[in-house]
Amino acid sequence: MSETPKPLIEVTGLTKTYHMGEVEVRALRGVDLKVRKGEFIAICGPSGSGKSTLFYVLGGLASATTGSVLIDGHDLSNMSDGERTQIRRDLVGFVFQRYNLLPTLSAMDNISMAQFIAGKPQHTEGWFKRSLEMLGVGHRLGHKPRSLSGGEQQRIAIARAIVNQPALLLADEPTGNLDTENSEVVLKLLRDLNERLGQTILMITHNPEAAAFAHRIIHMRDGRIV
């Protein structure tokens, strides 16, 4: 136990280059980032500045080209696809702009699927129940995504992302598809999750009002933090 605990995320010199046939796209050009446990950080920046790419690398969906990425002490940069899948499953929850619920499953089954994949028992008591109450979607669980409003879908998506109590919640423009009212609800939820459950959150947003909910705002441009 040291005075300053190791950060949850420690990114050093991260670059990511996409190869599209002959063309190389340098999406990240040297990112350094430290995030402490329990922080709520907003990431802002113009379209194409590499925000989503940073998330994919942090969540282990994409591999780093160079640099090191430590999540909770695990170095993702020299892991195989399989090992990164495991880290993602155990430590990371994703929320997307487009909700990305499985359309053929009910809201409840979407959440259960995340528990199943994580190999967690699909209990519906205790923390699970409390978090659903907090999200205010308890009465809509039997519905398919199609018959839910955007706000409801996004709240289900958040429930799915946190059901396995991940160390890190990555929300990529979670209010990008929502009206002001629903955006407000979702942002308050994220803040509640952070304050009441100590959930570490990184949130990409274009919206300064949304960014204001966070403790700290990081700006990105051309694949770098500025």
């Binding site: 989503s52 969540g59 969906l61 899948t85 053929t104 089954d109 259960s112 699927m113 995340a114 799915r160």
Partner: protein, 364 residues
């Protein structure tokens, strides 16, 4: 939970699910119908052979068990057989093919009736005129014939004079002399049927025949019937194997196509599963299980369809075809459809498993 997703996916695109299953099912029906026909027709030949009431059959040298061997037993042989000890009745037949699986059989009415116990006429009676034919009920039903109607075969018109209960050797009967002359087989027989005086003499008579008639094929009826089986008739097994091969291939194509479109259509869902931490194996397993469900549902449908096929055969062509239901083959046919389906799901599944999640999840 995987199964829940599999079922939900199949229900979501239920028309495609039903069509794919049916297409798989038709393969199952095809196999089972071919097998059912093979067994059914052979069984039927056995049954009808029993209906003659003979104990011993004499066939010309070199003829195959099934198949319409030409008539080449000289008629004199029948007289010779009749004089052998312990022979109670002997009768000869001439069989002439009239296309497809159908044939007409020439009989000597008196000795044939004596041996078989006589026809049971449902309508009409025995032939008296040289243009008259006796047919059985199945042939009558298949061709919608009544007594007094005319049937055409062998380039002639025949008046139906009697309709008899099925089960005695053949479906169409003519006087043997007439048929021999018409088919340029005057004085020639296809087969001789023998009834012995006492059953205990059967073996003695057979042994005697074998000595007196070298080269001829002599069978007890039981022996003959047991020889009429899928294993003994050349061509049936290979034919079934060819059908199985085609079924696997078509099942493969159907499921491949169905799963391939499913994978293309579900890039986003697959990306979501991966974002949730699903392994490639799990993604593959979802698709393989979908294929298994398609194959199993298809197999059940296919099995049910064989009953429909049998009904259609009994209704429309009972005189030409006989199909039995062969439950022993259900697992085999199901296995065949499973194999085609799994092979078909393999490539789409592999493609899905290694699909890039990022591209699928990107907003645009």
């Amino acid at each position: 939970m995987i199964n829940k997703l599999v079922i939900a996916n199949l229900k979501h695109r239920w028309i495609r699910t039903i069509l794919s299953s049916l297409a798989v099912g038709v393969q199952v029906t095809m196999i089972l119908t071919i097998v059912g026909l093979s067994y059914g027709m052979l069984d039927d030949i056995g049954q009808r052979s029993r209906g003659v009431g003979a104990d011993i059959l004499i066939r010309p040298p070199g003829s195959s068990i099934i198949g319409l061997s030409s008539a080449n037993i000289p008629e004199k042989l029948l007289d010779f057989v009749r004089k052998l000890p312990h022979v109670a009745i002997a009768t000869g037949t001439t069989v002439h093919p009239i296309g497809g699986p159908n044939s007409v059989t020439g009989i000597e009415l008196e000795s044939f009736s004596a041996m078989s116990g006589g026809f049971r006429y449902i309508e009409g009676g025995p032939f008296r005129q040289p243009d008259e034919v006796v047919i059985d009920q199945f042939w009558a039903r298949q061709n919608k014939l009544k007594v007094g109607d005319y049937a055409s075969f062998m380039d002639r018109k025949w008046r139906v004079c009697g309709i008899v209960e099925p089960g005695k050797l053949a479906r169409m009967f003519l006087p043997i002399k007439l048929l021999q002359d018409l088919s340029a087989n005057t004085g020639k027989l296809t087969m001789i049927y023998v009834k012995v005086d006492e059953h205990e003499n059967l073996q003695t008579v057979i042994d005697g025949f074998k000595k007196e008639l070298p080269g001829y094929q002599i069978y007890s009826l039981e022996e003959f019937v047991s020889l009429i089986s899928v294993d003994n008739v050349p061509g049936v097994k290979p034919f079934i194997y060819v059908v199985i091969g085609i079924s696997i291939f078509v099942g493969f194509l159907v499921v491949f196509n169905s799963m391939y479109t499913a994978v293309l259509e579900r890039t986003r869902e697959i990306g979501i599963l991966k974002a949730l931490g699903a392994t490639p194996q799990m993604v593959l397993s979802v698709l393989l299980r979908e294929a298994v469900v398609l194959a199993l549902v298809g197999s059940v449908a296919g099995i049910l369809l064989t009953y429909v096929a049998r009904w259609a055969i009994m209704h429309y062509v009972p005189g030409s075809l006989t199909q039995t239901i062969v439950p022993n083959w259900w697992p085999i046919a199901t296995g065949v459809s499973l194999m085609g389906a799994l092979l078909g799901a393999l490539y789409p599944g592999w493609k899905a498993a290694r699909q890039d999640a990022i591209e699928a999840l990107s907003y645009e």
